[in-house]
């Protein structure tokens, strides 16, 4: 997307080569300024020297999703040609400065085939000339002990014992380790990663799936036409993405089972803890005496016995915990005759998601487990640096702990922006290039904000996480895009920009209170004064006169991305996400900006500016920044007529006639009365 990445890349590659030559001769260590571990989407988005254990990029996608359909949308037709806007509806493509380097070149499907993604990544690597070293399997990462002048750095050891010394390590290894839960009989459970994907294998089988996420439902959906009964079991109820606005929750594309459940077609969802259950296989002896004999026989040629779900504590009476000795009293149905999961299963499948591979990190280099997300992810700072591991950054889906279950940081369409943010942090920290900023005159701020609000994809995808920062500087401002909001207290040191006494604005897109039925009445607001109750994604502006502190950040109102500001402005949600209405969007925004900037931001025709410039020591800002620079907006006869009819301009009878029109309050003509006369009319 932005060329600095590429420029930096070119420089880095050169650097890498040079170090390579220097050091290769006298030992087996390779020195790099930047190492990216993993050539998945996040690693490629970073574009430095990339170490990849597999033979191609994005190898995760060679296996997953198992049923080979991506659920990230690849919407080719949006009715718009704005590239930035279209990225709002392209969840697979990576950012680059090539306008056509998009997934749609590889697949035309809305939900593309999973194979197309590694294909796309290969194309991306090739066309951008990224340097990826394949076949380098890093097994050990430790912090460098010697404090070199350039920082401590990390040492990576690969399968051949080769060391790579990296000043900055960018870990984009993704989430590979299947999340497992230990319970009695968990060895009887198959994993999502290894189950057969041919539905015929499940013919007339009863299947219990542990988990209620997308992989669980994806698995269920693929066998729906073959399996006899599919039950999904996990602690929490299913969360629907279209209700929670979180794309990691169950997507409608996978939810056919909800239909068969609710229409009582033999499938179902059950809630319960995972740690306390047990899976037992019924033994031969049991078959003989139990009334279920017939049923068991009917499951055909499968040699394995049936699997029962029971509770660990019901097995307490068993000494050796040998499943063959399971008796009826060890099963819940004995105690509870309508226990939901009382029927046996042919298969139990674990679909519990994945966790970060902490094992390759030596204690000195290991980021801590995240507080959220059940500790499956590494804990990182708001700028994605590992907590306690300086110069080690976590990129991509593994960095999702910052916005777990709230935004899109765990998904390509989200982390492609956070990776770019990390890149900007690195630019400042290691190359003294401050965060890119655009200088705008204040009279242009409103238009610019509307432009971002109407097209920007970063804040739209990473809602509540990345926001545009506007540094107010009096008659002009500086506009910084897509800064990580949680890092706002460290803004100056991360961006290289200082705040002025005029304060700052933050533009965020966010969902609303979400307290209503997603499809019920009253789900959307349309009156702009009720914008703060908007439920759908809508722009919100926060105004601070000084940077919030970390303390402010910690104590921010519940559910808010930022602390309570001096003033806040919600732009009313829009059905079409087009925020350009003069009455509902522009004018309220202008009034908010006027309040923050303490100035009148209205536009005036040149004729008005002429009058105001001669009758005021300092005319309004719009006249100063336009008209007085010989750049005023001259009336066109038709528009002039309109403005007159509206009573907005004084002059002869026109203004008098407005007095009689109660629809237009008197204060609107106030602009005309700006000169006070000291003359005594009596003389």
């Amino acid at each position: 997307m932005d060329s600095p990445i590429l420029l930096l890349l070119a420089r880095l590659v050169a650097l890498v080569q040079c170090f390579h030559d220097d050091y290769h001769s006298h030992n087996s260590t390779r020195h790099h300024d930047y190492c990216v571990l993993g050539a998945g989407p996040a690693g490629l988005q970073m574009e430095y020297i990339i170490l990849e254990r597999n033979s191609g990029p994005g190898s995760f996608f060679n296996i997953y999703p198992r049923h080979r359909k991506l659920i990230s949308i690849n919407k080719i037709y949006t009715g718009r040609r704005n590239r930035e806007f279209n990225l709002r509806h392209d969840w697979n493509s990576l950012l680059s400065d090539r306008p056509d380097l998009l997934l749609q070149r590889v697949s035309r499907e809305l939900y593309p085939d999973a194979d197309s993604f590694p294909r796309y990544l290969s194309m991306y690597v090739k066309e951008l000339g990224l340097k990826v070293q394949y076949g380098v399997d890093i097994g050990k990462i430790r912090a460098s002990e010697s404090e070199s002048p350039r920082g401590r750095g990390y040492i990576l050891t690969d399968q051949r014992g080769l060391d790579y010394t990296c000043r900055v390590l960018l870990v984009s290894t993704g989430l590979w380790d299947p999340q497992k839960v230990q319970f009695e009989g968990s060895d009887l459970v198959e994993g999502y990663e290894s189950i057969p994907v041919d539905p015929e294998e499940y013919k007339d089988q009863a299947v219990l799936i542990l988990g209620k996420g997308n992989s669980a439902f994806e698995t269920a959906q693929s066998i729906l036409g073959r399996a006899s009964r599919i039950h999904l079991y996990s602690p929490s109820p299913v969360r629907l993405a279209w209700q929670t606005h979180y794309v990691g929750d169950l997507r409608a594309v996978n939810n056919e089972l909800l239909d068969t459940y609710q229409l009582k077609s033999l499938d179902g969802l059950v809630e319960g803890g995972l740690e306390d259950i047990a899976i037992v296989r019924n033994g031969e002896d049991e078959k003989k005496r139990s009334g279920r004999k017939k049923k068991c026989r009917s499951s055909g040629k499968d040699k394995r016995g049936k699997l029962f779900l029971t509770l660990a504590e019901l097995l307490d009476s068993l000494d050796g915990k040998n499943s063959s000795k399971v008796t009826a009293t060890n099963l819940p149905v004995y105690h509870n005759d309508n226990f939901s999961l009382r029927q046996p299963y042919d298969r139990v499948i674990r679909c519990l998601g994945f966790r970060f591979n902490f094992s390759i990190f030596d204690g000195s280099a290991r980021p801590p487990s995240s507080e959220g997300a059940r500790g499956r992810l590494p804990g990182v700072t708001a700028w994605y640096e590992g907590r306690g591991t300086p110069d080690l950054f976590v990129l991509g889906t593994a960095a999702h702990s910052r916005d777990y279950r709230s935004s899109a940081g765990g998904f390509i369409h989200g982390f492609r922006y956070t990776v770019r943010a990390v890149h900007r942090v690195l630019e400042l920290r290691y190359h003294s290039n401050s965060w890119p900023a655009i200088k705008l005159s204040i009279s242009q701020l409103q238009s610019w904000l509307l432009r971002r609000v109407n097209e920007a994809s970063g804040p739209y995808q990473m809602f509540g996480v990345l926001g545009d920062i506007i540094l107010l500087r009096g008659s002009h401002c500086e506009y910084l895009e897509e800064f990580p909001l949680q890092a706002l207290p460290q803004f100056s040191s991360l961006s290289g920009h200082q705040l002025s006494k005029h304060g700052l604005l933050v533009l965020v897109l966010q969902y609303g209170l979400n307290r209503t039925d997603s499809l019920g009445p009253g789900r959307a607001e349309s009156e702009w004064t009720r914008a703060w109750r908007s439920n759908f994604l809508h722009p919100v502006l926060y105004y601070y006169d000084k940077l919030p502190t970390e303390r402010d950040m910690r104590h921010r109102p519940v559910g808010w991305p930022l602390p309570r500001p001096k003033a806040v402005h919600h732009m009313i949600e829009d059905f079409l996400t087009e925020w350009d209405g003069p009455i509902s969007h522009s004018q309220p925004l202008r009034r908010f900006l006027e309040h923050c900037l303490h100035t009148d931001l209205r536009a005036f025709y040149a004729e008005s500016c002429f009058r105001l410039s001669l009758t005021n020591r300092k005319p309004p800002l719009f006249c100063r920044q336009g008209y007085l620079r010989k750049h005023g907006i001259v009336r066109n006869s038709q528009l002039w007529q309109h403005a007159h009819e509206a009573g907005l301009m004084p002059g002869g009878q026109d203004s008098a006639s407005t007095d009689t029109d109660p629809a237009f309050p008197n204060y609107l003509t106030r602009a005309g009365a700006s000169v006070s006369s000291a003359i005594n009319l009596d003389f």
């Binding site: 040609r81 930035e84 059950v270 809630e271 319960g272 509770l311 504590e313 009293t329 105690h335 005759d337 226990f339 999961l341 507080e371 959220g372 279950r405 200088k439 005159s441 238009s447 509307l450 004064t529 104590h555 921010r556 519940v558 309570r564 806040v568 003069p582 522009s586 004018q587 009034r591 100035t599 009148d600 209205r602 536009a603 005036f604 025709y605 004729e607 002429f610 009058r611 410039s613 001669l614 009758t615 020591r617 300092k618 800002l621 007085l628 620079r629 010989k630 750049h631 009336r635 066109n636 528009l639 309109h642 509206a646 907005l648 002059g651 309050p665 204060y667 000169v675 000291a678 003359i679």
Partner: protein, 821 residues
């Protein structure tokens, strides 16, 4: 020592300050003898004993004098005693500065005040009346105190409860003045805040500085808890309170059998709107109930009239069930259909309080666009722009388009920018006019940055609208002139000429200067600039060429580098290199020696040379002249009447004034009010009225901000004007007006979402307290789980299916139970 005897005329007047007549102060100065005599009269006196006067005491005495007029209306004489001359024991104390004022009744001191307490008229009047009415006005602080007053008043009198945060302010005075007049009729109660207000339904006690409630106790039964009350929803002034009390006396609902326009009620005189409900015989009982309910809700704001529809005098279209009439002479009755009570109440909230900008319910009026550009574009929204006249570029066509045409003008715009869209109309007009003029080498194009965002980013467009001229193989040139048809047209026409025009012979030079060479261009840009150099080898030539390039589109620039340039140098007595500025065939030609430096400095130099010495200010050129930052000597001339050449004579006179060289500190200029109507508003703003034309004004726009008006009637001739200017310089002329130097603050308040949140969902927008410090993510998760799990059902099922009593197995714990949701 003279005695002045005060004649007390008790004017019982609620609007006190307007009621006194005459200008002489009513403050009397007493001698000791008179003082003692008056003390016996039984009247009330408010007397200050003083000796020396410092500034503070001086101010106090001034206020005391003013209060004398007011207090006279209440039968209280105000006096002072000069203790230097008189000695009155007890009161004339030894200090030099005495700071006590006493209120006497029949020789006794009712109360003494410190001059700091009774610092101005309002404080004096309010405190004095408060003392006088001590028995009538009850002061309450707690709810219990108020309730006891209420109990006593029930069935007997209504209560007027006033609240002022601070005593001695105008609100307090208004309240006391009203109490003085109505004290017999109503029980007055005063509070200064606290729990009583909460009882009245005030949410934020600290922000309410003053308020007034009418407690309808007279009709209340002894058994009811408290009397129903109505709040005064306006500022506490005597007039408002008076109106309010009148309204409280008016019947809750009146009934009439005439047309609404015929109804005459006290409300009309009190500037209060009337609401009419139309009743039919079979629903009249219900309608009365409705009317009563409404009337209670709107009491004090709107008068309610029930009109009996069946009366032959009433001819109201059947579809309407209500109507209202705003106060004011001849205001019309507006008919409407109302479906519920809230609608009616909302209607009046908006209609009856349009002047209260801070009224929360009044945001609807904010939906009126108050930006003249936005409003005019919005009003034009039904008209679709004729985009056929311009080329709409896209990311795909942009690069080819600007490479192909000799001249491509591109307007970069966004749809939501009103200025862009206003200019778009002019832009299309220019395109059409170029087409009409058969200009074929210029392509006018537009590019929507809302759609082709990459192009705009790549072109580094930072403001909207931006206009650029593209020529193949040349860097693009920004258009920095006025965003109007005429300016843009001129820019395009002039841009098509090479700059500078290289002239090769004296004939060409003459032709160029007189505008013959480029007649078509001369018509739109009569001022031309010619650079004169003695030879092409002159080092200044490249610099001049560079500057001329920069001025392309702005002015026609010629270059004559030849020995023969000396002819003009001699003629205009300058040394080469020089520039000639020609103001067209009828105008003058001036010469300036060139100070050759950097091209951009030369550009500024030429631009300055282009300025007229006695310009006609127009909307378009004013910015050029304001840059000079001189005081304006501004002549306003009007439309020329047929046959009279007044303007020309005056302008010529002014020109001859220029030649005196005495006008250096000024920029002499003129505005033709016919051609520049906006000038009228300027003149009116300067003077407060429209004087006879021509009018001469000095406007110190850049310095001081004062405006001076050359006396009407005095001849506009060189000598008198110079004399007048001298007097202005010397500060002997009184300014006729002042140019304001105010910051342009927001024209309207913004909609404060934070306070709305605080009000509607308390705590939603508050920072968490230190104790509840929790990780946001965890918390959010917890909430979601809680809200969606419906735990109750789970529990219930568990209880219902207790194990059948196996002695060896303990029942599964709640957390182990599985339930189907």
């Amino acid at each position: 020592m003279a005695w002045f005897i005060c004649v007390v005329i008790l004017l019982l007047c609620s609007k006190s300050e307007q009621c006194t007549t005459g200008n002489a102060s009513k403050l009397i100065e007493h001698t000791a003898a008179h003082f003692f005599e008056k003390m016996q009269s039984g009247k009330m006196y408010f007397i200050y004993f003083g000796k020396q006067v410092n500034p503070t005491i001086g101010l106090f005495i001034e206020q005391l004098e003013k209060s004398a007029d007011v207090l006279e209306d209440y039968g209280i004489s105000v006096a002072k005693v000069n203790c230097t001359n008189e000695h009155i024991a007890k009161y004339c104390t030894g200090e030099k500065l005495m700071k006590k004022v006493y209120l006497f009744r029949g020789g006794n001191v009712l109360k003494s005040f410190d001059t700091d307490t009774v610092f101005d008229v309002n404080a004096i009047v309010s405190h004095v009346l408060f003392t006088v009415l001590f028995d009538e006005v009850r002061y309450v602080h707690t709810i219990a105190e108020l309730q006891s007053v209420e109990r006593a008043a029930k069935g007997k009198a209504d209560i007027v409860l006033g609240h002022v945060q601070v005593l001695g302010l105008p609100e307090h005075r208004a309240l006391m003045e009203t109490a003085f007049v109505y004290g017999v009729k109503y029980q007055f109660v005063l509070t200064t805040g606290g729990p009583v207000l909460t009882n009245m339904g005030v949410e934020d006690i600290s922000s309410l500085t003053a308020g007034l409630w009418f407690l309808h106790c007279k009709g209340a039964s002894q058994h009811s808890d408290s009397c129903p009350h109505t709040a005064l929803r306006r500022a506490l002034t005597t007039l408002h309170i008076y109106t309010f009390l009148q309204l409280m006396e008016a019947p809750l609902v009146s009934e009439a059998s005439v047309e609404p326009s015929e109804v005459n009620m006290v409300h009309s005189h009190l500037q209060v709107p009337l609401l009419f409900l139309f009743s039919q015989p079979h629903t009249v009982a219900l309608d009365r109930v409705t009317a009563q309910t409404l009337a209670w809700r709107l009491r004090g704001q709107v008068g309610l009239v029930l009109i009996h529809r069946e009366s032959p005098d009433v001819k109201i279209p059947l579809e309407y069930n209500a109507a209202y009439r705003l106060p004011g002479e001849g205001s019309e009755v507006k008919y409407l259909i109302l479906n519920n009570l809230e609608e009616v109440i909302d209607l009046f909230r908006d209609e009856s309080t349009p002047e209260e900008e801070d009224d929360d319910d009044n945001w609807a009026t904010l939906d009126v666009l108050d930006d003249e550009v936005a409003e005019s574009v919005y009003r034009d929204r039904a008209q679709s722009l004729d985009m056929d006249a311009v080329t709409e570029l896209t990311a795909d066509t942009f690069h080819n388009a600007v490479a192909e045409s000799d001249y491509t003008v591109v307007l970069f715009y966004v749809k939501w920018d009103a200025v862009s869209m206003a200019f778009m109309q002019s832009y299309i007009e220019v395109s059409e006019s170029l087409e009409d003029a058969d200009v074929s080498d210029v392509e006018l194009a537009v590019l929507d940055c809302g759609e082709w965002t990459d192009v705009c980013s790549a072109q580094k467009i930072r403001s909207f609208p931006t206009v650029r001229l593209y020529r193949p193989q040349e860097p693009s040139q920004p258009y920095q002139g006025m965003l109007g048809t005429e300016s843009l047209n001129r820019f395009i026409m002039l841009s098509r000429l090479v700059s500078p025009v290289l002239l090769s012979s004296p004939d060409e030079v003459t032709s160029f200067l007189e505008g013959d060479m480029y007649q078509r261009h001369a018509a739109i840009a009569p001022v031309t600039v010619l650079g004169l150099f003695s030879s092409t080898a002159d080092a200044g030539v490249p610099v001049f060429k560079e500057a001329a390039k920069a001025l392309r589109g702005e002015t026609m620039v010629g270059l004559f580098a030849d020995r023969q340039a000396e002819i003009w140098a001699v003629e205009y007595s300058v040394t080469l290199p020089a520039i000639l500025v020609s103001r067209g065939p009828t105008g003058q030609t001036e010469a300036h020696s060139l100070n050759l430096s950097m091209p951009d400095q030369l550009v500024t130099h030429i631009q300055r040379a282009l300025l007229d010495t006695f310009p006609e200010l127009t909307v378009e050129n004013l910015p050029l002249y304001l840059e000079v930052k001189k005081k304006l000597l501004l002549l306003f001339v009007g439309e020329e009447e047929s046959g009279r050449k007044g303007n020309k004579r005056v302008l010529d006179d002014m020109r001859s004034l220029l030649n005196t060289g005495l006008l250096n500190p000024y920029l002499p200029c003129w505005i033709h009010l016919g051609r520049t109507p906006a000038g009228k508003a300027v003149l009116e703003a300067y003077l407060g009225f429209l004087p006879l034309l021509p009018a001469l004004v000095v406007s110190q726009l850049a310095t001081g901000g004062e405006v001076f008006h050359y006396p009407t009637g005095r001849p506009l001739m060189v000598q008198p004007i110079l004399q007048w200017l001298q007097r202005v310089e010397d500060g002997e002329e009184p300014p006729a007006g002042v140019i304001v130097d105010e910051k342009w603050m927001p024209s309207m308040p913004f909609y404060d979402f934070l306070s709305v949140m605080d009000q509607e969902v308390p705590g939603y927008a508050s920072q968490r307290s230190a104790k509840t410090k929790t990780n946001r993510i965890e918390r959010a998760e917890g909430e979601k789980e809680k809200s969606s799990s419906g735990g109750g059902e789970r529990q219930a099922r568990t209880g219902a299916h207790d194990p059948q009593g196996s002695p060896t197995t303990k029942p599964p714990q709640t957390s182990h139970h599985h339930s189907e949701l």
